[in-house]
Amino acid sequence: MEAIVSVEDLSFSYGNTFKLNSISLNVEAGTVLTLLGPNGCGKTTLLKCINALLKPERGKVIINGKNAYELKRWELARLVGYVPQAHVPPFPFSTLDLVLMGRTAHLDFFQQPSKLDRQIAERALSMVGLSHLSHRPYDQLSGGERQLALIARAIAQEPRLLLLDEPTAHLDFKNQFLVLGMVRRIARENGIGVVMSLHDPNQAIMFSDSVALMKNGSLFAVGPPHSVITRERIEAVYEIGVRVVNHTDGSFIMPSMENFS
């Protein structure tokens, strides 16, 4: 399989402390890689380094055969779609206008979006099931709908790689799974590589093809979910006692109740 993104020996420090320490990763087309680890372990920093929003001291990011740090912003935006956590922007753009912003990298400097760009944005919206909300101001959408709209905007970029920073944050139980299912489907159907950060090991098991377990800016383990997410590793990374529960759908992680007695 062809690697969409290769992270090679990436190190990033902030002041005297390492935020990322010699990270190497690969993501193949049509697959989902989940970054898993406690708060502050470097998941967001790694996502920003892959998107060249932060420049690391050492190491390379190769996207579709090109060095991410040598590309212009518009060149990179045609390869990488970045989905930030759902937020409220200062101006209440309509949902369709927000998604249309994904076309910016395909426009000339003085150009406005064309009818074709609008059709691409509409298709992206219907892909995430939000066509009926296209004229609603984005700030009036629910948290889950906002996250889906931001995913639609990234799809409208027609990228090879999708980066998502905690796409389930602030979402209710149902919407978390709706969004994750959508992400995996988009990856499969369009041959897009996905890197996302999550907090829940079980969601990582259910929705990823590979998992990168991180601790203190270093990779603790990388590989298929079931080989990476073991009781020993989760206990070591999160410093909490857990049990593995076997179910017909697979093995899942539960915290041991002894932690709380």
């Binding site: 929003l53 912003r73 922007p89 910016t104």
Partner: protein
């Protein structure tokens, strides 16, 4: 993009035309509306008709006195409101305008120096106002810049500091100048187009036109920039470069008007807001062109009032402030001041 708003969009877009014609009739010397039309047509085609006995006088009044002033007011309104709309997008804050950059204080100081010390040299006031407002902007931008980036908060803060600095310098100039000159400095600072002729039009309108064209072409980019630095970058925008282009263009646009008409406030704040409310969208593809037409209409009407309300000229800046400041207070109250917290 427009949908059901097509009607109101084109209505507002072409609103300057009737207001322009109406303004030609207003003044201490009344000219009937049909005479205005006849005079205008006659100047295009001398064979249009005979006109009335007063046509020659009408022609003088219209072409030598009213037309340059009306054109200046129209383009001044465009400059102030379009610059306001684009700065609001760049700063991601709907409650800022060109004054945040310290631009007006800079222009005020430049003009004051020129009026107070070199009153005899023609065109120097304009040049000084322009260079000083540009300097104030550069100072704001480079004070705010940190490792190649200028965050919104640091830019706003730097603007406040630069404004304070330039205002203090202006007070010193006012203190040391003679009473006659002081009054002309003060009058200029209040903002007025009373003395504008074709010279002032030629000094500012071509620059306003070019800079307005640039902002109009970049209006989609303004939308994306308003989403914040990291998102705009992720969407393929070279944020530092594009923001600098827009800020430079905007400064040039505003200072070329301020240099001929003095400080006229609030237009850049009120008009884009009004446009977003009327058109029910923050989309700059709509907000920029409609802000231009409504801004032109607003300043033109304010100037009509300024020159016809009393027997002597009122500074138009006083009128825009009387309308703009209460509007701003209303907005601030309605939004609970939340726009400043972001």
């Amino acid at each position: 993009m427009l949908g059901s708003k097509k009607g109101i969009f084109f209505l507002l877009l072409f609103l300057p035309l009737p207001v322009f014609l109406l303004s030609l009739t207003i003044g201490s010397y009344q000219i009937p509306f049909n005479e205005v039309l006849v005079t205008l047509f006659l100047s295009i085609d001398p064979n249009f008709g005979s006109g009335s006995p007063q046509t020659q006088i009408y022609k003088e009044v219209i072409f030598m006195i009213r037309l340059p002033r009306i054109i200046l007011a129209l383009f001044g309104g465009i400059a102030l409101s379009v610059s306001g709309a684009s700065l609001q997008s760049v700063f991601k804050n709907p409650l800022v305008d060109s004054y945040i950059l310290g631009l007006s204080a800079g222009a005020g100081l430049g003009a004051a120096i020129s009026i107070a010390f070199f009153p005899a040299i023609i065109g120097l006031t304009q040049l000084f106002a322009f260079s000083f407002s540009f300097m104030a902007f550069m100072l704001t931008y480079f004070v705010a810049r940190d490792r190649g980036q200028a965050s919104t908060v640091s830019l706003v803060l730097a603007g406040v500091i630069v404004t304070a600095l330039f205002s203090a310098a202006l007070s010193i100039i006012k203190f040391f100048t003679t009473p006659e000159k002081l009054s002309s400095v003060v009058y200029w600072l209040m903002g007025s187009m009373a003395v504008s002729g074709w010279t002032e039009v030629l000094q500012s309108v071509p620059l306003i036109l070019v800079t307005f064209l640039i902002i109009t072409l970049m209006r989609w980019r303004l939308n994306v920039l308003s989403m914040g630095d990291e998102e705009a970058k992720s969407l393929g925008i070279n944020v530092e470069r594009d923001r600098l282009i827009i800020l430079l263009t905007t400064t040039l646009m505003v200072s070329s008007f301020v240099s001929v008409a003095g400080i006229i406030g609030w237009v850049g704040l009120v008009i884009p807001h009004l446009v977003r409310m009327l058109m029910r969208t923050p989309d700059n593809r709509i907000v920029i062109p409609i802000s231009a037409s409504l801004g032109g209409v607003f300043l033109l009407l304010a100037d009509d009032v300024a020159r016809s309300l009393t027997s002597y000229e009122l500074p138009v800046g006083v009128i825009t402030t009387m309308i703009g400041a209460p509007f701003f207070l209303y907005l601030l109250k309605k939004r609970g001041g939340g726009s400043w917290r972001q």
